[in-house]
């Protein structure tokens, strides 16, 4: 019954979305405001309808209605309620349903805007969002229906169908298979929704961009409307990526947080193009340049959002052949191709209208440096894209599968990241329009000189790896430049308005949140860079098999294997847990408990590390194996991860910075745009007074 209600509401939403898209386009072309209004109502209706569908699914999951195939495949009696709810995105069809639900929420949020303000753009926004929603819903309704039930024929064969096929009886399993153990982690509970929210909210700027192209409103209005959407999308994507990294570090048990796995890269690629977009829209707002480029970037981001969902949902990664057998793979492929071609065709039609209002004045101007930043981000994107699709191409054309692993990505993107860090240090001090070497040099010399101390000191303390010295110099340089910017701005306010320094700093950031929020993000990146360089270049590891009481040494750390215990848990796991004492420089600093969980139902082992964590480093212990009879010997793998916690701390700072930049303004945005623009432009000129 509930399953029928859920399915029916999905079908209804699908039809409403199609109607909304059609009516909006018709109303806009024929200038029929009442038809557009009807389309807006359709748009607003999608969210409540989708909510009925999603809540039905959640109800089925929570109450354990195992006759529904999806429920049986992702939940089990032993699972607590919160995990049953999160099982909504624990499988293929459920996550597509979840995606559509979020899409409808964001689309409806657009529908609640003051409609009169951008009358010509909004109908086309409805068209784009509703087509996207209808596409995803279409897949749910026709190919990946999460509401299908299990039926048994007289000969014992099991069928899946929504309604009872003739000659069958309902099959109601007593228990389900349960959620993939890898997903039973708090990080994994929040990580997919964050990524999906990021994915879905990037659809909105894209929709406005397309609306601008269709209507010929080629000024920067679409960018100004969607500025916050973009930041919110970016915030969620960043959060999703950071949480995903943390989850990998805590659960996957390989001593790291980022493995250049195609699934990770699928979520990383829209982030890359989105980050490039966030920077380059500033050039259009301030200088009226790069209009084509911004369009290309948002089209690319949208395509990568769909591509990311496609990569993770179509089965193409495991094999090209699995892809051709899956129903939704080719559909995805077609949809990406179609939207990409249509978007580019629109862009080409408006090409002449999008000419820049200014020329690139100097290679040191801020816009030139931003352009360079964009090229580097796109460079990294190209590397990632190539790495992800090369195995597919290889399999398709030569029949041999290949792996493209971390060594390739690290070597290919390392220099590009270094280039980005360098730009992050220089660009904030260069001015829009024209900057001479002299001006830039005057602003840069002090942080530059101070930052050189870092590699020198490190060198004398025994760091000889040139790449690490370069990396830490760059991080120090960016950090100092950014702090210097805060200091100069606060000092100017302090002198001019005789505010106390902390107050001046607070007001400075408050008045120009986008800029100073951006700087906070840069500081977060610097901190993350410290951690990434630390673990990438100075991680050490060792492995050994020990009898009880024996020791294993790694650098300054020594671990002693104290004991091992094994037991079954009520939720269907067998836990093997070792007790390990950790000594640092000869002193006992604590105990850690590395363990191996074996899930009976899915026959999956999970290696959960025991970690002794400080700001300086992590001592990360894995239980690799043990003798089955008694606790005689056990094998441990040890990692020493220097500075890794700066990755998480930096991530936190990064998110705070994004929140500062994205926090809603109190004053209404559109009024006195010109004057605000002028003031901002003069404020940033030379990066001097603010």
């Amino acid at each position: 019954m509930i399953a029928n209600v859920g399915y029916f509401s999905l079908v209804l939403t699908f039809l409403v979305a199609l109607y909304g898209a059609g009516a909006a386009a018709y109303g806009a072309i024929r200038s029929r405001p009442e038809v557009v209004e009807s389309a807006r109502h359709a748009l607003l209706l999608t969210w409540p309808l989708m909510t009925v569908g999603a809540l039905s699914m959640i109800l089925l999951l929570v109450t354990g209605q195992y006759q529904v195939e999806y429920v049986a495949s992702v939940t089990s009696n032993a699972m607590p309620v919160y995990l049953r709810v999160t099982a909504l995105w624990g499988g293929q069809s459920g996550s597509l349903l979840f995606w559509s639900w979020l899409m409808s929420a964001f689309a409806s949020a657009v529908g609640l805007r003051k409609w009169a303000r951008d009358r010509e753009l909004l109908p086309w926004v409805v068209v784009v969002t509703m087509i996207t929603l209808a596409f995803f819903l279409g897949m749910v309704v026709f190919f990946e229906n999460p509401f299908v039930r299990l039926w048994q024929m007289a000969d014992g064969q099991v069928l899946t169908a929504l309604f009872q096929p003739a000659g069958t009886t309902a099959l109601v399993p007593l228990d389900g298979q349960g959620l993939n153990p890898l997903l039973r982690h708090p990080g994994m509970v929040i990580h997919p929704p964050m990524l999906y929210l990021g994915f879905v909210s990037f659809v909105i700027p894209y929709a406005f961009a397309m609306a601008a192209l269709v209507t010929g409103r080629t000024d920067d209005r679409w960018i100004r409307i969607t500025r916050r959407w973009t930041l919110v999308a970016w915030l969620f994507l960043s959060l999703g990526l950071i949480l995903g990294g943390r989850w990998a570090y805590d659960v996957l048990g390989w001593g790291g947080y980022w493995g250049w796995d195609p699934v990770e890269i699928a979520a990383f690629m829209p982030w890359l193009s989105g980050t490039a977009f966030l920077h380059s829209v500033m050039i259009q707002e301030k200088r009226g340049m790069l209009k084509h480029w911004n369009m290309v970037l948002i089209v690319l981001t949208y395509a990568l959002v769909i591509f990311g969902t496609f990569l993770t949902r179509s089965g193409i990664l495991s094999s090209v052949h699995a892809f051709s057998q899956s129903a939704i793979g080719p559909l995805f492929f077609g949809f990406i191709g179609l939207t990409f071609v249509v978007s580019l065709a629109l862009l080409i039609r408006r090409w002449d209208d999008l000419r820049g209002e200014n020329q690139l004045g100097s290679m040191l101007s801020r816009e030139a440096l931003f352009l360079l930043n964009n090229l580097l981000f796109v460079g990294i994107l190209v590397v990632c894209f190539w790495g992800v699709i090369f195995p597919l191409i290889s399999e398709l054309f030569t029949g041999t599968k290949v792996t493209v692993g971390p060594p390739f990505y690290e070597r290919a993107t390392g220099p590009l990241w270094a280039g980005l860090l360098l730009l992050m240090g220089i660009a904030p001090l260069s001015a829009w329009g024209r900057t001479s070497w002299k001006n830039l040099g005057r602003a840069l010399w002090l942080p530059f000189a101070l930052s050189l101390l870092v590699p020198v000191v490190l060198h004398f303390r025994g760091v000889t790896l040139w790449a690490a010295l370069l990396g830490y110099w760059l991080a120090a340089f960016v950090g100092l430049v950014t702090l210097y910017e805060f200091w100069r701005g606060a000092l100017a306010r302090h002198r001019r308005n005789s505010e106390s320094l902390p107050l001046a700093l607070w007001r400075l950031a408050g008045r120009n949140r986008r800029r100073y929020g951006g700087y906070v993000i840069h500081l977060g990146v610097v901190m993350m860079a410290l951690g990434i360089i630390g673990i990438e270049m100075f991680q050490t590891e060792t492995q050994g098999t020990l009898a009880q009481g024996q020791q294993l040494t790694l650098g300054r750390y020594v671990m002693t294997y104290d004991s091992l215990a094994q037991w079954d848990t009520p939720d269907g796991r067998n836990v093997t847990r070792a007790v390990v004492s950790v000594y640092r420089a000869g002193r006992l600093v604590g105990e850690v408990y590395p363990r191996r969980d074996y899930y009976y139902a899915s026959q999956q082992p999970m290696t959960i590390p025991g970690v002794r964590s400080t700001l300086e480093d992590d001592f990360y212990v894995l239980l690799v194996g043990w003798e089955p009879i008694a606790a005689q010997g056990a094998t441990f793998k040890l990692y020493h991860n220097p500075l890794v916690n700066f990755v998480w701390l930096g991530g936190l700072v990064f998110i705070v910075g994004t929140l500062v930049a994205a926090w809603p303004d109190r004053e209404p945005e559109p009024v006195r745009r010109k004057t605000v623009l002028r003031r901002e432009a003069s404020a940033t000129a030379g990066g001097k007074a603010t």
């Binding site: 493995g259 495991s318 290889s394 792996t403 692993g405 390739f408 060792t542 050994g544 082992p605 690799v624």
Partner: protein, 101 residues
Amino acid sequence: MMAKRRALWLVLPAFLGALLVLPAAAQTSEPTDDQVNAIAKNLYCPVCENVPLDVCPTQACAQWRATIRQMLAEGRSQEEIQQYFVEQYGARVLAAPRQWA
């Protein structure tokens, strides 16, 4: 003169033979886990996608590591071991396609 040269011909093969045997002899001791992992780190089994062999917890991967250990004990080099796995399971066991290295 002739005798000297003949002696050389006798010594040379013996010398070359010793060169071939010696490295193997030098490694007769049981390879350490770290030596095994150093090689496993750059290999991927076809089943556990994108999990490097040195950290993969599955039974199959444990057997691969045992194979590496045995080949190390026989004195085989890293290239030889990689080549063995490529021949057995295809190019996908390598972390990156050969041509890119």
